[in-house]
Symmetry: C2
Subunit: 243 residues, 2 copies
DNA sequence: CGTAGCTTTGATGTAGGTCAAGAAATGTGG
DNA sequence: CCACATTTCTTGACCTACATCAAAGCTACG
């Protein structure tokens, strides 16, 4: 794939107009392509001098383990997303990352990243923007878990996933392919798997959405948006914000 | 105050060694000093072309409102912290920010910030690092609310605050001054104010810590760390990480 | 075609919410 | 420096959303 057509470049290009120099710097960063199988951690907590990755295809989840053996999933990385930026900046990973589908990713070495930032500040700004977008999602998740009911936060999360996938052309208004199990959903939303199951049944019986057979289908998109108090604007940005 | 002695410069200097050029760029960024009284929002959701701020003194809380009138506090900004970086990058604020003590802050204009990044990439990297540290805290909060009990997450949060304040010289192992009400604590931790009160009583009666009279006092620091499963490393960084 | 991971459902338990109301602290104007 | 108002804290009684436990039916794929 040409660098300019990669999901990563597409995403960044939504924010800054990248010059050919910027794109050149990106191709340096974006070097070693790797395939990673399901179920083996790509990053694990406490690991030193961890590389970062840019996801080309597949889904990854970033999570933290707690002493009791419970897990909290913090975020998912989808095609075009950066994985492990914090691990590079802090020199130590503070979380784990696990592919939940087979993944193709490009390894980004810390030096390359920092050199690219120094050489092309616009790229640094673009990466900062992408990191901020991810943080905005984590924040929205925090709000969900803190103050929304199980049903609201499930709906909210599934809408958010849809919006992200739409950005990279993997979803439309009717729904999207979704490889998540109810266990993963539970660990994302701070609920038990049993309760997630009941919530999903309720959403299905209310003709709001169907989560089944590896697919999310919205039956009544507007009603789901209303239920979840979903802000459609927050992941949409018209054109490049920075010229 | 000399720029080099500001809490902001101190914090960034912990990450990158800033050259005099970097410091010069910072003084451009770090320009208009303002005083803000308690209880008037500095940033509010939906506001366009919002400035960002660097806090010189005082505490600010960033929060989101939900339709039911409930509130989730996402983070606190303490002296040296950046406020509203996302608002600048996205051109629209996605949250509110409210001083909970009188605040002195320097306004950072979007242009100045972006110019500084272009002129001195090291500064951009440093700001990216600071933003990542803040995100790490939001993540830790998410984990708390998702998977820790009320007692654990309260302990965790109070330890984290202590660690942050220690970085800017406002806390030691015995405790710190803390202007938060139990209502603020509740909205931070996704609990009700009534329950926070019970949790604090329990922590007090177990001789773990006292939250009273605008002060947090640790009676048995080690026990609190153990209870909260607090990772002391994650906010400590020995020296500049990036040379 | 067996076995391991998912999904579904029922029964029961509990952490934390809500409501209510008094006590203490804090602020404000005279 | 006091009286009054307002917020903040504290506690008790009761309730509910979600967890836990248990067990049966699915899917899938080696």
């Amino acid at each position: 794939m040409d660098i300019q057509d990669s999901p990563f470049a597409r995403k960044l290009a939504a924010f800054v107009q990248l010059s050919s120099a910027d794109i050149g710097a990106m191709s340096d960063v974006y070097k070693r392509r790797r395939k990673v199988p399901v179920g083996r951690d790509m990053v694990y907590q406490g690991q030193k001098d961890q590389a970062a990755y840019i996801i080309a295809s597949g889904w990854v989840c970033s999570y933290k383990m707690l002493p009791g053996g419970t897990r909290q999933i913090v975020d998912f990385q989808l095609p075009g997303d950066f994985l492990g930026l914090r691990s590079v900046l802090f020199r130590t990973a503070d979380h784990n990352a696990l592919p939940i589908t087979p993944v193709e990713a490009s390894e980004v070495l810390p030096e390359d990243l920092l050199n690219a930032f120094t050489a092309t500040p616009r790229l640094a700004t673009a990466v900062l923007w992408a990191a901020s977008r991810d943080e905005a999602m984590v924040v929205e998740n925090l709000v969900s878990i803190g103050r929304r009911t199980a049903t609201e936060r499930t709906a909210h999360f599934l809408l958010e996933l849809g919006a992200r996938l739409k950005l990279v052309g993997l979803a439309d208004k009717t729904g999207y392919k979704c490889p998540l199990s109810q266990y993963l959903l539970a660990d994302t939303l701070g609920l038990s798997a049993v309760h997630i199951n009941r919530v999903l049944r309720e959403l299905r019986e209310e003709n709001l959405l169907i989560f089944q057979g590896g697919r999310v289908t919205f039956l009544n998109f507007e009603a789901v948006v209303a239920l979840a108090d979903f802000d459609r604007a927050y992941l949409d940005h018209d054109g490049p914000l920075l010229r």
